[in-house]
Symmetry: C2
């Protein structure tokens, strides 16, 4: 293990892509390209306007997790943004091509689940007057993700300025669309780092209702009667991006007979919880260790169970 | 004049860049590159996260207008987004290099002001682990801009979902920063086109207070006493991007002894106005001909005067 891997660095470089495939224009056969070469024009509207959509997904030992859920959400994003999307078959072919060309995945040193890759699927509107295009990149999961899984993360609560539920029903605001326009999400994470925390969770400005992490969903557990936990997450219909990992965890919990509940959640609910996690495809379920500098409870056994839910493994 | 130039097409292709200069990394000497080649990585955070800032400016007969104001706003954007910015000297050198390499500008067939170029200055955070970089592109002003100046544009009012004033004081929301994350602005323009209009103006969802155009400021004129007009624009401190063109127009109007006023403006104020414009650097002052399908007044003489204000010419 490299020195300092025990404490996630504030902003380490992610490893570059190990393989990249272009689908350009959309409808063309997936084409393996050198990930270290430039492929994008200075006039591409994905670059100049953040005008595109994406998904990030997790590959373990060559198998993509929740691929259908990601393709459904990508299709919704592209449709709302009036972008074409490659077919599921084209994405599957692109993924297989990229994985075959990529190096081995990275292994989590503290919980070796297998060889892990991060995969990004993106669609850009392209150069004005030209056609939209798509690309897929594969990279080993970065060490900081493994560190976060092991040590958990401290988070700060940041006001979102407005309730994103106000965007519902206004399609020009692209509600629920995972666009390439993520500058605010990235700024929130930088703000967290600059203030001694490792990640950011948004809340409404008015009543401080918990919304979502900057690039994750928020899930917490409550043990009302000491028996099975109740899992909670903020109401997904209220302008929060519906998390594919949160949904998978809740589906598995329901199958096990656990209660699940959809907020509203407030900061005091996080402090009263028996555990709090940020969930997303590659990080899986990362325990939150503190909120605004104040410790929150954690439950390593339940973290392992949620990870099993995500990986479709029999519960430990 | 090409066929159909009298009616702006909904979404015509802009001409590609005539010249491009990279400043990569920031601090390196500006370097002329082929604008038709790819220069950007699939992993560039300007592309994958809309994580960067930009300015668009107008060059007429080789002279950049409001260059200092644009560099000040770009510096503010970069500073708030924690990005480095090239020095003013580096940008001036990049601009001179690109203009020398670019073809002739385009001429507005109905109001030949000279040879006109659109210039974009952009900064991206770059590939993770690598350094931020900047670029400048020069292109002839597109015909649709000339058409809009001549015929004016119809606009739809679109709810912004929230009052952007709520973002003030929350730096992680990048208030007042002109980021590359413009997906919503572009979606608003597409929505306008799909609904028979040519551009979009945002208003608050709650009280329908006018905010700004999707990529422009809103300015209107009122003739209270039939003498000099009063120019009005929405209060710039309330989360609206401060427009360099609006500011230049108001400065010149004040010098001429006209009254200027900063909202609040509501839809009824647009219908009561003696003229309404969308203002931005390259389009200059484009008359609004209708709002939500209902005609608004225009004043061709005053449009010419505002254009003169923007170009620093003696009033006609």
């Amino acid at each position: 293990m490299s020195p300092g891997a025990g404490t996630p660095a504030p902003s380490p470089a992610a490893p570059g892509p190990a393989a990249a495939v272009l689908i350009s224009p959309i409808g063309a056969p997936p084409r393996l390209v050198d990930p270290h070469e430039a492929h994008v024009s200075l006039e591409d509207q994905g670059l100049t306007r953040g005008d595109g959509v994406f998904e990030t997904l997790h590959v373990l030992d060559g198998t993509a997790y929740k691929l259908d859920a990601h393709l459904v959400r990508l299709g919704h994003s592209a449709g709302t943004a009036q972008l074409p999307a490659p077919s599921a078959d084209a994405w599957r072919e692109a993924l297989a091509t990229a994985l075959a060309a990529a190096g081995p995945g990275a292994r989590d040193p503290s919980a070796d689940l297998g060889a892990e890759h991060t995969v990004k699927l993106s669609i850009s509107r392209g150069v004005p007057g030209d056609q939209p295009w798509a690309w897929l990149t594969v990279a080993p999961v970065p060490k900081r993700t493994f560190a976060a899984r092991r040590t958990g993360v401290s988070v700060v609560l940041l006001e979102r300025g407005h309730d994103p539920a106000e965007d519902t029903g206004l399609p020009w605001l692209l509600p629920g669309v995972k666009t390439l326009s993520y500058a605010v999400n990235m700024a929130a994470v930088r703000y967290a780092h600059a203030h001694g925390a490792q990640d950011a969770v948004f809340m409404t400005s008015t009543d401080h209702r918990i919304l979502e992490g900057a690039t994750s969903s928020v899930v917490c557990a409550r043990h009302d009667d000491g028996a099975a936990p109740t899992l909670l997450t903020p109401e997904p219909s209220r302008g929060v991006l519906p998390g594919t990992s949160q949904a998978r965890i809740f589906d598995a919990a329901r199958e096990r007979g656990w209660a699940v509940d959809y907020g509203p959640l407030y900061p005091e609910d996080l402090f009263a919880a028996s555990a709090v996690w940020l969930t997303s495809s590659v990080r899986l379920a990362v325990p939150v260790t503190s909120v605004d500098g104040r410790p929150v409870a954690s439950d390593p056994q339940l973290t392992r169970t949620l990870t099993d839910f995500l990986l479709g493994r029999p519960g430990r």
